[in-house]
Structure formats: C-alpha cells, structure tokens
Amino acid sequence: MRIGVVRFPGSCDEVDALAAARCVGEARLLWHADRDLHGVDAVVIPGGFSYGDYLRVGAIARFAPVMESVAAFSGRGGLVLGICNGFQVLCEAGLLPGALLPNSGRRFLCRQVDCVVTNAHTPFTRACGEGDLLSIPVKHTTGRYHAPEVMLDEMEAHGQIVLRYAPGHNPNGSERDIAAVVNRQGNVFGLMPHPEHAVDALTGSRDGLRVFESMREAVAGPVAA
C-alpha cells in the first residue's frame, strides 16, 4: 500500500504520520499546492495548524489545490484519514459531517485517552474488535465535536460514530463522547486523537497502529473480515 501524507504550511505531524504509514507500507509527502496525488492508495491529512488556522481551524486549508484532488479521490471511494487538524479540515470541506469547537475547558490539552471502538466494520477500524479500548494521545485546543442533534441521530443510525472517548475520558466536551466519525460511504475518517503518535512502545502505546493496519487490510482487498 502507498499512503500519501499532505503537508500544508503549518502542518506539524506529517513526519510522524509518514513514520506510522511506513509501518504498514510505503509513504510519501503530498504538497498542498500540488494537485497530483501521485497514485497513492490512501491519503492522510495530518495534524498541525494549516495556514495558521486563520479565520477558523481548517477553514483555509480546504481551498488548497491538493484538497480538490482529495475530494475527487474520496468521491471515487479512496481512503482519506484526517487526524486532529486534518479532521477539522475535512469537516470544513464538507467531506465529514459536523464541526470542531474550542475545548469546553478552554485549555490546550495533551494527554493519553482511552477510546472505545464503536464500529469495527470501517476500513479504518477493521483490525479492531467492537468494544476494544485504544489508548491514544490527544493534543488540541479545538476538539469539541459538535453537530446538530438530528444529524447526530442520523449518524448513529448509520454507524458513523466510530470511536467514543471511554467513560470519564472525554477531554474536550465532545457531544456524545465522539472521538472519531466516518462519512456515510465509509471511506473518509476523521478523529481528534493521534494514532500516528501511538505506533511504538517507546511512546507508551501501539494502539494507533491498528488504524493503519486496518487501512492496509482494506486496500489489500475485500477479504471478509
């Protein structure tokens, strides 16, 4: 599998995302001003502060030339993983439902949290079991997931809420403890926790690797899970 990791001005987690992607395949950087996705099998929109987070988090990055190609790629069923700022960008781009608001506690958060896998049938969680706990770090100021109630009910009905913060672990006041969501088609995934920072025992947890392993399985072929 070949994974492309987008680098915007202000990205800061693209190097860790490359390292995590290389645990399961090949990886290369994609430049924000370049429309060419270089034939990758999956795209990662990494964390950071794209375009300085001017106006609103993720609001400007969605107009980057590379995002036109990412939108077209996702429209063809290509796998897109948005982490933290990447999640915010995908929401602003309308590729994922909802929006991210400032943390309820106002502070920047940096801590390890437990997330429960609530849908293990997505290309991003198929290497997990339903109910599995993943220990993954969060580090953000604007991570409170919000969507109107009607939209949340609809998402629940379609299995679009993929990870929830475990009881007592919701760090930012996200509605319904939502940590990760997927689009209706199931190929665009966004989460506030950073799986790319949890791929080596050296940093405390390897649970994040399962997201990347899931993507490798999904790209390898439609073998029944």
Binding site: L55, E92, G98, A99, L101, S104, G105, R106, H146, P148
Partner: protein
C-alpha cells in the same frame, strides 16, 4: 461599499471564551456582568452588497456553529472618532 460582518457562536452552544471573560470581569471589580459572548469582526470593501451573505455561508462563518450579521456603512456619516458608522441593511 464597506461591509462589516459580526460572527458569533450560535446561541445555545457553550462559548468557553465568553465564559472566561465573564469570570475575569468581577476580578477587576466589574460586578453584575452576564451573558458574555466573544465573536469575530470582519470588514471588507465590496462593489455592492449582493454577495456578502454568500461569502458568509461559504467561508467567513461556519453556519453549523456560528451566526452572522451583516452591516453596511451608513451614508458618509463618520463615527465619533472619524471611523465609519455602520447600519443594518435596509
């Protein structure tokens, strides 16, 4: 034509910035202040007002989480410090 856009957190959504300011004011001796909200101010020159709402919907505000209000510069009446005054659109 100069337009001023006021962007606010949608009513009913928790506004941590507003809460922080609300708690800071009594510490300075300003009592009785409530319902504080912090938003964003955007000003721009446009040929006419016809596109400003579309700009708000597509970029300047996120309608899922923010409300906006568009004001247009009043007819050449300067404000107290020589700054333009703004009125609601007709």
């Amino acid at each position: 034509m100069r337009a001023r856009i006021l962007v606010r957190p949608k009513a009913g959504l928790l506004d941590p910035q507003g809460k922080a300011v609300e708690r800071a004011l009594p510490a300075l001796g300003f009592e009785g202040v409530g319902n504080v909200h912090v938003g964003r101010l955007i000003e721009l020159d446009v040929p006419d007002g016809s596109d400003v709402a579309a700009m708000c919907d597509k970029l300047l505000a996120n309608p899922l989480i923010e409300d906006y209000e568009i004001l247009y510069e009043a007819d050449g009446l300067p404000g107290p410090n020589g700054t333009p005054t703004f009125d609601r659109p007709a």
